[in-house]
């Protein structure tokens, strides 16, 4: 971590003459980025990508990262709230998984305690079956869920996560309870994919990018995605198939609690301008992330709705 800071500082020093010329563009001299997860994960990746683009554009002088991982972000969140209250130039990168973890872990500190700034990316879920499965399309899968949910084992990530929630919502849509699910939780994407490839389970649910290459290679058959619009050309969304579910693993930026209106607007302006940069668009494309930018009141409203939907499913599954 120390090495990163030194790198950033050196880069800032080298850029100093440039910055003076474009002083109008610089929003923050230094910015503290708090990641409530270990290095290398999705939230960390988004934070480092923002650093990369913002520093090259001269929007921020230098960045300092702090990673505090554990329990879907509920270990780091209280620390961010306590340490950065009311301070400018500090952000936290988090997302959908934290909403679920706060509820499931009954954490006293929640997303309500930080200042929502913007949603940056989102990744739709995808439902797949092994290539040699009897199930040919979404209808076949829905029928199997309706008639024999116990015999339709579905692999995914840890219980109560996005994959489990999507399965719960699907079961509800066919008039079953989320409790009927035959959900097989795996630690991490590798073992879950292996179980699907080896046809140990009937189907699998995960984030779209995790299965994309297996689908391309013809080793898994995609049945549907859970986004607003299609992520893969010839794979329907749940919505257009007549199942009213839209669910994505979104990631976004939060400010510390207790920010005044001016400080909050400054952060919103910063991420809005960052999002408008051509370099950001390029980076999204290279990483394969879907742009899901949403800020201000619209993001607030989205958060409320997301929390309510998550709470309902988790309650039904028996997690809260």
């Amino acid at each position: 971590m120390l090495r990163r800071t030194l790198f950033s500082a050196a880069a800032a020093g080298a850029l100093l003459p440039l910055c003076a010329a474009r002083a109008a563009e610089q929003h923050y001299a230094t910015m503290n980025v708090f990641i409530p997860a270990g290095p290398g994960g999705g939230w960390d990746g988004l934070g480092r990508a923002m650093e990369q683009v913002a520093r090259q554009a001269g929007m921020v002088g230098s960045f300092q990262f702090e990673n505090v991982g554990g329990a879907g972000g509920t270990v780091g969140l209280p620390r961010f709230v306590a340490q950065r209250r009311g301070r400018e130039g500090a952000i936290m990168v988090a997302g959908a998984i934290m909403v679920g973890s706060v509820l499931a872990n009954k954490s006293p500190v929640g997303i309500k305690d930080v200042t929502p700034i913007a949603r940056m990316t989102s990744e739709p879920g995808i439902i797949v079956v092994p290539a040699n499965s009897d199930i040919q399309d979404l209808k076949g899968f829905i029928d199997a869920l309706k008639n024999n949910p116990g015999g339709t084992s579905v692999a995914g990530g840890s219980a109560g996560g996005m994959d489990h929630i999507l399965l719960g919502l699907l079961l509800k849509s066919v008039g079953r309870s989320a409790k009927d699910a035959s959900y097989v939780a795996f630690a991490g994407g590798g073992p879950a994919q292996a179980a699907i490839l080896g046809a140990q389970v009937k189907a699998g649910i995960s984030g779209y990018s995790e299965f994309a290459e297996q689908i391309k290679a013809g080793r898994m058959r995609a049945l549907a995605t859970s986004g607003e619009t299609r992520s893969v050309e010839n794979v329907p969304t749940l919505k257009e198939s007549g199942i009213d579910i839209v669910l994505g693993n979104w990631r976004g930026v939060f400010g510390p609690p207790g920010l005044n209106a001016a400080a909050r607007d400054k952060l919103v302006k910063f991420v809005t301008e960052l999002h408008a940069l051509p370099a950001w668009k390029e980076l999204l494309q290279r990483q394969g992330w879907d742009d899901a930018f949403l800020s201000g009141d619209a993001f607030d409203a989205f958060l409320k709705q997301d929390e309510a939907a998550t709470r309902q499913v988790l309650t039904e599954v028996g997690l809260i």
Binding site: G40, S182, V184, A187, G189, P191, S209, E213, Q287
Partner: protein, 504 residues
């Protein structure tokens, strides 16, 4: 592209000055972080990820692979010298390795670990090049039921480390299983034994427990029983292996390598299980005249086998990543995200779409392996000199080392409290002759076995016969029964013969 032209292309790319430089830097960094307890290759590569914005893909992956292999080499050093395993794959190495160091045989232990790592790394890399895709397809046929049976087999091997009293050994194993339960249950999302402490929700790190049990516990015990006045400086002994050491190591190197590679390839395998099986096998296969060294003065077979198994498994982990795009370990997952930041989507098509990169990477694994053994053998003398430090200073150093390592990674006071809490428990365990190794084994195997069993039962809709109706699972269970009952039955036969012999 066939394997030979692929390798030719790969070596052509890897043998440039810049790429060799990246490999050397990676090996050096890897060895260093392998020596530090707690910091593993996954965390190091994660911290190095931002270089992917600046460096070419080939250079970055050569660096990462160097770090990965280097960490496997370095991990054994502290296990042997200080009884402080740097990562979970070298926990078993500490069992015999630390005893050898205590008895003036640190040099041979380090050398057999380094050469064993080289042999296993080469076997593993050959495996990646030639049979990787075939083995991974076979591994996909294994489901949770088979994995559960494999864990049962590993549990059978615990008997090798139970020590003199089965009751004490099983009590230690139970403590390990209990610690393994802490955290959020994967299948239901419910917290268990966390007592409202959020830091416990992700469970307790097995390396932390191993360091607490082996290093902190030992240090506290020594401080407790230390008799003032007498200062003993440990023998370093001869550094190189004798001819006999070499003869005793060759078998374990090969067996460990061949055992480790398939476990690494298995999507739910990992590096710990093969080290346990290798240790068990070597303990059973050792020539009778050396058997007494196990658990007393330290047997070189018990270092050579598990170290080779650990390194071959680490190479195997790269197979599902390269052939199918499956991240089956934390390190592989982070390497996959590095692929993505170059716009490369790793998957079943990687070998064809990125043949250049993949073969360069494989070639650099061979190079890293040679670099590491050249780098590590001369270091043996330097490392072994650590033992010349007088005991009070040495153990104080270990304590500082363990504390910084634990706190530096997680920034968590809870982890420090756990380190010393479990360390104090370990001190009393030593005092009352409870073995500590079964605790770690229970902690590694317990949660894996539990999850595999419940996954299998969810898939079979609660039908327990799934473990014996699936042929592979049944075979593994039969081997486990044989491993448990076989030696006893054999003993009975031998005794009967002995009884009947005089009368005949």
């Amino acid at each position: 592209m066939d394997v030979w032209s692929g390798l030719a292309l790969g070596f052509g790319n890897a043998l440039t000055i810049t790429n060799l430089g990246w490999a050397l830097l990676g090996c050096f960094l890897g060895t260093a972080i392998g020596v530090l307890p707690g910091i593993g290759p996954a965390l190091t590569i994660a911290l190095l990820l931002p270089i992917t914005f600046q460096v070419s893909a080939t250079g970055a992956f050569i660096l990462f692979c160097g770090v990965f292999y280097g960490a496997m080499y370095g991990g054994s050093t502290t296990s042997i010298l200080l009884n402080t395993p740097g990562e979970s794959g070298s926990i078993i190495t500490a069992l015999e390795g630390a005893k050898m160091a205590k008895n003036g045989r640190a040099g041979p232990a380090l050398v057999t670990a380094a050469i064993g790592s080289f042999v296993a790394g080469t076997v593993g890399t050959l495996g990646i090049s030639f049979i990787g895709p075939v083995v991974v397809e076979l591994a996909l046929k294994l489901g949770p039921a088979e994995y559960f049976s494999l864990m049962v087999l590993c549990f059978a091997t615990v008997s090798a480390v139970l020590g003199g009293s089965a009751l004490r050994g099983l009590a230690s194993l139970g403590l390990g299983l209990l610690i393994g339960l802490v955290g959020i249950d994967l299948q239901t999302g419910q917290p268990r034994l966390t007592f409202g402490v959020p830091e416990l929700l992700d469970g307790i790190d097995v390396v932390l427990v191993a360091v607490a049990l082996f290093a902190v516990g030992e240090t506290l015990y020594l401080a407790w029983t230390h008799v003032g006045g007498k200062q003993e400086v440990r023998e370093v002994g001869r550094l190189m292996m004798s001819k006999q050491d070499l003869k005793r190591s060759v078998g374990p190197w090969w067996r460990g390598s061949l055992l480790g590679f398939p476990f690494g390839v298995m999507p739910a395998g990992g590096t710990e299980m093969p080290t346990m099986l290798s240790y068990y096998a070597e303990r059973k296969l050792v020539r009778p005249e050396h058997r007494h060294e196990f658990g007393t003065t330290g047997a070189i077979e018990g270092v050579a086998g598990p170290e080779a198994a650990n390194n071959a498994a680490a190479a195997g982990v790269l197979v599902p990543m390269l052939t199918l795009g499956l991240p089956t370990s934390a390190t592989a997952a982070i390497m996959l995200s590095a692929f993505q930041s170059y716009g490369i989507q790793p998957g079943p098509l990687l070998f064809t779409s990125q043949a250049d990169l993949v073969w360069t990477l494989i070639a650099s694994l061979y190079i890293a392996n040679i670099m590491l053994v050249v780098l590590n053998l001369p270091l043996v003398g330097l490392w072994a000199r650590i033992l010349k430090i007088p005991q009070p200073q040495l153990y104080a150093g270990i304590l500082v080392f363990a504390t910084i390592g634990t706190y530096g990674i997680s920034n968590s006071v809870v982890d420090l409290l756990l380190l010393y809490g479990i360390g104090i428990i370990a001190m009393f365990m030593r005092r009352f002759d409870f073995p500590t190794a079964p605790v770690v084994i229970g902690m590694i195997l317990g949660p894996m076995a539990e999850q595999a069993m419940r996954q299998a039962l969810t898939i079979s809709q609660g039908d327990w016969t799934t473990f014996i109706t699936r042929p592979v699972s049944l075979c593994i269970l039969l081997i486990a029964v044989l491993a448990l009952a076989g030696p006893r039955l054999w003993g009975l036969v031998v005794r009967n013969r002995a009884d009947t012999a005089p009368t005949a």
